[in-house]
């Protein structure tokens, strides 16, 4: 197995020096760093192929089309589904919006979702339907609340596979089938889950969205899985144009089959090359090693946080079924952006502060803005330790009254 040191060598950004020397990158829940193989794959597309897909018969176009579709099949295999159900989007947000804008929902339809949903999972529905919030105070959807929402016969149930605030993963294998039995379409925001755990699409899932950039891939490329039943239920895609039609005359046109009907215009071909390379890189690490490392990082961060009375971890201290994403609230500090800035400028620690696009969660449970420590495969326990020691020193100076 490859050691973390081997892995670190693959990430050029980790060689970058800032004022304080080496960087400690802990903002992986926002986006991960990219290994050289991904960078090379993207650059390789532009430097060696550069042609458009699907519409050309020349050899460069053939080559680009082949790789583009090969990656689609690779993604499908990764998820255990058919390539025809895989749509390339720009990111998770675009995928979730595509579903919300394509499904024929009415303003009085109910859409259920946990309070800790990401804005990208909430807002596409909030602007179209009535929302039934599911309590998620300790980082998990509360079972009785979930059932209470199902009793309202929701048209759609939105799941956060893994919370970007607490790192807690939902029990999708139990909950998603319940939702489908209750007659709802099931939509899964897997943006944080996909980087940390093997993502298997269940037969009861209708839509699953995630972004390449949170799992070592390039920005601007996302994946949306759509079930056959959802594809059938969806209206004419909200965006049409080149690539989405089979045949056009001045009086009518015929829309192509999925997934092409959902990919209007020239897509992010270089991004797809990069996504393929990212999946290969993660396969090379192996799901088991990924999980082991993730658990060690989580435990390190939780125990460092627990040892400090001035910190409170959102979602509690349990490591069960939880990805390595730890958000801490700092006692007496409502606005930790200055702390995050000092961590960066004085210690080279890059992490995020604020509400992490899940503001209703903070509002509902009365939490002030937090600092999020989100390690990934190249981080070490020493880095976690150094980060908390830096936090101590900044906290103690800034809090001196």
């Amino acid at each position: 197995m490859r050691t973390v040191t081997d892995v670190r060598a693959d990430f050029p950004v980790l060689r970058r020096k800032v004022d304080t020397g080496q960087i400690i990158y802990l903002d992986n829940a926002a986006t991960t760093l990219k290994p050289a193989s991904v960078i090379d794959a993207v650059a390789g597309y532009y430097s060696e192929v550069s042609a458009n897909i699907h519409r050309g018969k020349h050899i460069l176009s053939e080559e680009a089309s082949e790789e583009y579709e090969r990656v689609r099949a690779q993604v499908a295999a990764h998820l255990g589904v058919a390539p025809r159900n895989i749509v390339f989007t720009t990111n998770t947000t675009a995928g979730l919006n595509l579903v919300a804008s394509g499904l024929p929902v009415r303003p009085d339809d109910v859409v259920g979702m946990p309070v800790d949903s990401h804005h990208s999972a909430q807002l596409p529905w909030r602007s179209r339907c009535r929302i039934a919030w599911i309590d998620a105070g300790d980082g998990q959807m509360r079972g009785d609340d979930f059932v209470r929402v199902l009793d309202r016969r929701p048209a759609v149930m939105v799941f956060t596979a893994c919370s970007n605030v607490t790192g807690h993963c939902a029990d999708l294998e139990r909950l998603v089938p319940m939702a489908q039995r209750a007659g709802a379409y099931t939509v899964v925001d897997a943006a944080q889950f996909a980087p940390h755990r093997p993502l298997r699409v269940l037969p009861e899932m209708d839509a699953v969205a995630f972004s390449a950039h949170k799992m070592l891939g390039p920005t601007g490329i996302g994946v949306l899985y759509l079930s056959d039943r959802l594809i059938d239920a969806m209206n004419v895609p909200p965006m049409l144009g080149g690539g989405t039609v089979d045949w056009v005359v001045d009086t009518e046109f015929r829309i192509r089959r999925a997934p092409y009907r959902f990919e209007p215009g020239t897509p992010n071909i270089g991004g797809v090359y990069g996504l393929g390379a990212a999946l290969r890189y993660l396969d090379g690490i192996g799901a088991e090693a990924l999980r082991d490392h993730d658990e060690r990082m989580l435990k390190a961060a939780l125990s460092e946080a627990e040892a400090r009375p001035y910190l409170t971890v959102l979602g509690g201290y349990s490591a069960e079924n939880r990805a390595a994403i730890v958000s801490v609230v700092v006692a007496g500090v409502d606005e930790p952006s200055e702390i995050a800035r000092c961590l960066s400028d004085s210690y080279g620690v890059m992490c995020r502060s604020g509400f992490f696009c899940s503001q209703p969660y903070f509002q509902r449970y009365g939490h002030p803005a937090a600092i999020r420590i989100a390690p990934y495969i190249y981080n070490t326990e020493e880095e976690i330790g150094a980060t908390f020691r830096a936090l101590d020193s900044v906290y103690h100076v800034l809090r001196r009254g």
Binding site: R16, K17, D19, T20, E338, R341, C342, D345, S346, S393, V394, V397, L398, R399, R400, G401
Partner: protein, 419 residues
């Protein structure tokens, strides 16, 4: 006297500030006996990165409280490599302001002597402690505890929509500030908007300009609104220090030697020096031989106003120079070359490559081709070896990401602070 005080400041810093203790020890310059001049002159220079890296644990006096009632925290508007957090005692800042303003009678009378303490500020939103770039804030949201009204403005100042300009004008009327504290380009933009609306007066008995360079076109726009009865003066200020110097009644910019010790570090250009500042009497976070990155020209002639502070011409930041071969052409030199062309409202000069310089111009009604040619000629005079100097007329010039308007953009590809 200044130097003796600077020596004391450095000795104090060695005793109380971890960063300086470590720095002087490492340079084998631990003070032995009473601090003297020779010792001070050997001390290493410090730079912004030292303070950024050291904040807070290394550069703040561990024996001092950070109680916000006593301490002001300034967050400089610079982005990434330039940003900085500084803490200063509020009374130290007030003293620097009072002793600086004493160098200009008209301003002192109308600012210090004003019956109310209301100030209106118009500057890049990042320079303020409140969000003023959204149209949703109310005046009350934007009044700071010290009585400063922060006026609304877009991050990209010249793109401030007319509705926000109307809001500025209404708020000034409602607030009736004693004086105005403004970025010259922001105020020039406002003055143009006033002229368009036929408004010839805004409240305020004095105008202090700061935050960025006073370019001549901006000064023309400001001069057309504020007559002789309202004193207008430039203040030299930095987020690290507050007020450092001020324009006197004779138009000369004097440095405040009561609160600071200044040195002028030679650069490749004989006339142009980098301003180096040592704070005096700052026990919280003293700055010793701090390289500001600001370029100044020291004027030898005595000023008739009688102020003791040395007179400087501010040339802008080292990062905002264009290059002509190996020579550095400062933003001030560029302004001296083209700023007096009356048709110019705003301009920006960018170095696109070693060889190519581009100038974008926003002009009053005039013969564009003629002015463009004139600008190119003038620029060629200060950039004699540049292969390509091209001016063009545009309808908009963007502000920097910090919200400040820059008249000069440094060499292409610079601005990265990678090491």
């Amino acid at each position: 006297m200044g130097l003796a005080a600077a020596c004391e400041e450095a000795a104090y810093a060695y005793e109380h500030i971890p960063f300086f203790r470590e720095l002087f020890d490492r340079s084998e310059l631990r003070p032995a006996g009473p601090p003297d001049e020779r010792w001070f002159r050997r001390l290493p220079f410090t730079v912004k990165a030292d303070y950024r890296r050291g904040f807070p644990a290394q550069v703040v006096n561990p024996d001092e409280s950070l109680n916000p009632d006593l301490v002001f925290t300034s967050r400089s508007s610079g982005t990434t490599g330039e940003r900085l957090i500084t803490v200063v005692h509020r009374d130290v800042l007030a003293e620097r302001m009072l002793s600086t303003v004493a160098m200009n009678d008209g301003i002192r009378r109308n600012v210090v002597g004003s019956h109310n303490k209301r100030v209106a500020r118009l500057a890049a939103p990042n320079c303020s402690d409140v969000e003023c770039a959204t149209p949703f804030t109310t005046m009350n949201d934007r009044v700071l505890p010290d009585g400063t009204l922060v006026l609304p403005v877009a991050h990209d100042v010249l793109a401030t929509p007319p509705s926000m300009v109307d809001q500025i004008i209404e708020e000034l009327e409602a607030y009736q500030p004693a004086w105005l504290y403004m970025d010259p380009t922001h105020l020039a933009f406002l003055c143009e908007a006033l002229a368009e609306r036929g408004i010839t007066h805004i409240p305020g008995a004095a105008v202090i300009l700061t935050y960025s360079m006073c370019a001549r076109p901006a000064m023309r726009a400001i001069g057309s609104v504020f007559g002789d009865d309202v004193p207008v003066a430039e203040v030299l200020s930095m987020s690290e220090f507050g007020w450092l110097g001020m324009e006197c009644g004779y138009g000369a910019r004097h440095l405040n030697t009561e609160c600071f010790y200044f040195e002028f570090l030679p650069t490749a250009d004989d006339e142009i020096r980098e301003l180096v500042v040592t704070s005096l009497g700052d026990v919280l976070s003293p700055h010793i031989r701090y390289r500001t990155g600001d370029l100044v020209e020291v004027v030898a002639d005595a000023c008739p106003c009688g102020s003791p502070g040395p007179v400087v011409v501010h040339h802008g930041r080292t990062s905002a120079c264009v290059r002509d071969g190996s020579a550095r052409v400062t933003a001030r030199m560029v302004d001296q070359a083209i700023g007096e062309i009356e048709e110019i409202r705003f301009y920006r000069v960018d170095q696109l490559s070693e060889q190519a310089v581009r100038c974008r111009l926003m002009l009053h009604d005039c013969d564009h081709a003629k002015v463009t040619r004139l600008v190119e000629e003038r620029l060629r005079e200060v950039l004699p070896t540049a292969g390509e100097v091209r001016a063009s007329v545009v309808t908009h010039i963007e502000a920097e990401r910090s919200g400040k308007f820059a008249y000069c953009g440094g060499p292409a590809g610079k601005g990265e602070t990678r090491r």
